[in-house]
Amino acid sequence: MFDLSVIVNNFAFLVVQGLLGFGGFSGGTLRLAIPAIVLGFFLGIFIGIARLARSWWISLPATLYVEFFRGVPLVMVIFWIWFIIPQLLRFPIPEYGVALTAFVIFEAAYFGEIVRAGIQSVPRGQVEAATALGLTRPQSMRFVVLPQAIRNMVPSLVTQMIVLFKDTSLASIIGYVDLTKAAQIVNNREIRPFELYLFIAVVYFVCTYSMSRIAARFEHRLA
């Protein structure tokens, strides 16, 4: 029945290649998730600020961007990037580039909403005080509003990071060798789907659950 040897024999391939990304394939869940989280958040900061801009020609495109990407499935966005990049650049790029581009563009919409909510949670008096002290608008944003806003955003940011981490499994659809794809590759040879998919479920769970535990402790200290 339950055959643990399939996990033991393929442990190195699943974890080292699939999760961490070292080995014969260029892949790895973490190698995709970490840059996607960092870049997505940075793009999200700009989108969040742009949504709150006074000029409509800045805030409207940002709003449309957010509403558009929140209304379509991520799978669809991955396929869009997959087809559109060779059209634009005239040459294909590796799956890693496609997946990373899709995740950054898609998740930036969600990070943007978190940033906007975070900025709006900073009391107005703070901006007024900064202005009274002679700070320009960009300065008060950088030195007064954003540092406080980021602190308020931490819980939703962590949730979104966990969502993104899980979403990277969708990169396997276009052939990127992440943890999910690694399990598929092993399963094609061994045909032990129950053990293999349950095992990677546990690996994903350990990663995401520890992320949320660490974050909870961190929040406790910040508060």
Binding site: E67, P73, L74, F79, T180, P193, F194
Partner: protein, 237 residues
């Protein structure tokens, strides 16, 4: 970018029918998945707040394990992993009646049930504790208090986040294409494969998803307004 669009591929040949079939399958898959998710979410969300530890622990394990693992992994698990363990008769029946659709529905429902559970729990925790105490003081059992007082109020309070979560479910139903359920994204890819017109096919699929999501959000905004409890939440009323 020089690309000559040929929008007519969307209604010539079989494309139009495929798109409509895909839309129908997406709606069907999401609706059945939603019913399962709502049922699991309400039960486990309520269980997480009851004053009896084993029930709380059981619901916590379900919620934390299922929502912290990618939906794609659950799709593979329920489609490839579980059927070989089922009794022969059930397995045969499943594979004669679209096993991938049922595995997809189940994966979607169980995964989103765990996420819906958090929404419902949030709703229950927003209700003042005195409501429960008053219900018990009136002579209701804990189960009756939940069924007649706590859950109905919690449901009305959780309409906005539950709408959001339902739209996530609808969008996530696209993941079922990985186990070859012929839903909207799958059909979009099929049109692309047959006509080699990727951008037209993707545009059609994307527009349909957008219309569905924006439409449901608009309807739910009205529902939310109607079901808001005056005095308990500020908006609405």
């Amino acid at each position: 970018m020089r690309y000559a669009f040929h929008w007519e591929v969307l209604w010539s040949g079989q494309s139009g029918r495929w798109l409509l079939q895909g839309l129908a399958t997406t709606v069907e898959l999401s609706a059945l998945g939603w019913v399962l998710a709502a049922a699991l979410g309400i039960v486990s969300g309520a269980m997480r707040t009851v004053p009896w530890r084993p029930l709380r622990a059981l619901a916590t394990v379900y919620v934390e394990f299922f929502r912290n693992v990618p939906l794609l992994v659950w799709m593979f698990f329920w489609y490839f992993g579980v059927p070989p363990l089922l009794p022969e008769a059930i397995r045969e029946w499943l594979f004669r009646h679209g096993a991938e659709f049922w595995a997809g529905t189940f994966a979607l429902g169980v995964y989103h049930g765990a996420r819906m559970s958090e929404v419902i729990r949030g709703g229950i925790q927003a209700i003042p504790r005195t409501q429960f105490e008053a219900a018990v003081a009136m002579g209701l059992t804990t189960f009756q208090a939940y069924r007649l007082v706590i859950v109905p109020i919690a449901l009305r309070l959780s309409i906005p986040p539950a709408t959001n979560e339902s739209l996530n479910l609808l969008k996530n139903s696209s993941v079922a294409l990985t186990i070859s359920v012929a839903e909207l994204t799958f059909q979009t890819r099929q049109i692309e494969a047959y006509t080699a017109r990727a951008l037209e096919a993707l545009t059609a699929g994307t527009v349909i998803y957008l219309v569905l999501c924006v439409g449901i959000a608009a309807i739910m905004a009205r529902v939310e307004h109607r079901f808001a409890i005056p005095g308990l939440i500020a908006r609405g009323g």
